[in-house]
Amino acid sequence: MVQYHQTRFDASFAALSDATRRGVLEQLGRSDASITDLAEKFHMTLTGMKKHVSVLEQAGLVTTEKIGRVRKCRLGRSRLEEEAGWIERYRQLWDARFDELDKIVEELNQKEKTDGRNK
């Protein structure tokens, strides 16, 4: 199971390391699109866009389906959400920690100001 996850996360993070591919995901988040639509939107050749979509597809971030002569792309939601979920959980831990730290910092700051005035 861990192995399976690891390979998946590897592929996902590699796929997300490219700005165009992140743009494609953002675009597909708004609406499904064909590879031709995407190539036009990102001012790329059809071949170039096919490569990007293929990387995203291998990472499970995008699914494609041939409808007639057009290849439709849509977001493969679950994996993206899983990764975002982990990051969000980790962020929440730090957020909770830092909220507590904030209180202590405030307390020390007040104490120093008071002590400073009393000297």
């Binding site: 996850h5 507590e100 910092v105 020390l108």
Partner: protein
């Protein structure tokens, strides 16, 4: 410049690194104090919302000094995290190892003061890409019960793998 977000930001900045940032409304020496005195540190490192208390906290914050943190509800089911401070520059920088796991991260915390505020950056550098992937992957499999507790303990130790005693 209050545009600097006071929210906690987190980013995987490379294959081997995770970076957490937040700005605190106090000078660096105060924020540093809360990180380097055990009696203050233990008041915030394991916030209540996490649900796992810090049973003990020993820290000798100086270059070459060690730390030992024990989490859990009682001593028989606790997790121990330990390591060494490899660099300590008062009010500016803390670097420690996470030695409970063979491929634990090296954590660097920097305190950058600007206009009376402090930008805090927590930087976890894993020895390999696989080690960080594994920390992320194990985080994603956690669901509930004991697994959740382990995950929490895992996260508390900045993604290092817990040692069960």
């Amino acid at each position: 410049m209050d545009a600097i977000s006071e929210r906690t930001n987190i980013e995987r900045t490379s294959e081997r690194e995770l970076v957490v940032t937040r700005t605190f409304a106090a000078p660096a020496h105060i924020v540093f104090e809360a990180w380097s005195k055990p009696e203050l540190f233990k008041r915030w490192w394991a916030p209540k919302s996490i649900g796992i208390p810090l049973l003990s906290c020993e820290m000798d914050v100086r270059t070459g000094g060690t730390y030992r943190l024990e989490f859990g509800h009682d001593a028989s089911t606790s997790w121990v995290f330990y390591g060494k401070y490899i660099e300590v520059i008062p009010n500016a920088r803390l670097v420690w190892t996470n030695e409970e796991a063979a491929d634990g991260a090296v954590t660097t915390v920097t305190f950058e003061e600007k206009d009376g505020k402090t930008l805090l950056v927590v930087h976890d550098l894993y020895p390999t890409k696989d080690a960080l992937d594994e920390a992320v992957a194990s985080g994603s499999t956690g669901g509930f019960g004991e697994q959740f507790e382990q995950l929490d303990a895992l996260l508390i130790a900045l993604g290092a793998i817990p040692v069960e005693r």
